[in-house]
């Protein structure tokens, strides 16, 4: 397995992924953010739990320098954040009870994670460490 020393070789990706992971971990652990929104099929718990889970996986991937694991966790968080933002948008349009501020926040977070996902992990100047 190839391990990439992101911290030394690509600090932008490392810092960005770390920040996103911490934000999503905090969001996942903070059910209060999800409480005022709709809870069809217990989605509040599912979404917050999956955010916390994949944010933890992302932190683990950064710590253990596993690039494939990092990419999978980033894609999973993009999926959940976009899904939640989309569901909240539709819910807002349906009920007109909540504002669009929360879905827009989630769209922003999803795009932030998406930018980390498409950020290249290495360039020719970088070094790759082999196990």
């Amino acid at each position: 397995m190839t391990r990439v020393r992101l911290r030394q070789t690509h600090p932008n990706l490392f810092r960005g992924s770390l920040a996103v992971a911490l934000v999503f971990l905090a969001l996942g652990l903070n059910i209060v953010v999800f409480k005022p929104t709709f809870n069809q099929y217990g989605l509040n718990w599912w979404v917050s739990g999956l955010f916390a889970l994949f944010a933890t996986v992302q932190l683990y991937a950064l710590w253990s320098k596993r690039l494939p694991t990092l990419r999978v966790s980033q894609a999973a968080i993009v999926f959940i954040a976009l899904f939640w933002a989309g569901a909240l948008t539709l819910f807002t349009f349906q009920t007109h009870k909540t504002s669009l501020a929360l879905p827009i926040c989630f769209y922003g977070l999803a795009v932030w994670q998406l930018l980390q996902l498409i950020e290249p992990a290495s360039n020719p100047a970088n070094q790759v460490e082999r196990e």
Partner: protein, 90 residues
């Protein structure tokens, strides 16, 4: 259309799920391909660097070998000369 989707709880969950899954999947595949390409480029650059170092080392060793051969030839010539001188003296 949005109202129609919003009215059905299943569609309310299914539509964003499908759209976000497609987005995440395509982005993931793009990122994976990019990572592979950059890893190959990095590897090729390292191979070329190693190749350059090895070539420089080969040139150095060839120079040393030529110098050693020259020195050996001089020693052999000196040995022959010494043997001839000894024969003349005898």
């Amino acid at each position: 259309m949005i109202a129609a989707v919003g009215d059905s709880p299943v569609l309310l969950v299914a539509v964003p799920a499908v759209l976000s899954a497609v987005t995440a999947l395509f982005t993931y595949r793009y990122a994976k391909r990019k990572d592979k390409e950059t890893a190959v480029t990095t590897f090729m650059e390292r191979v070329q660097e190693d190749n350059k170092e090895l070539r420089a080392r080969i040139v150095l060793l060839e120079t040393r070998l030529a110098a050693a051969e020259e020195a050996l030839r001089l020693v052999e010539r000196a040995t022959v000369k010494a043997a001839l001188l000894k024969k003349q003296q005898d």
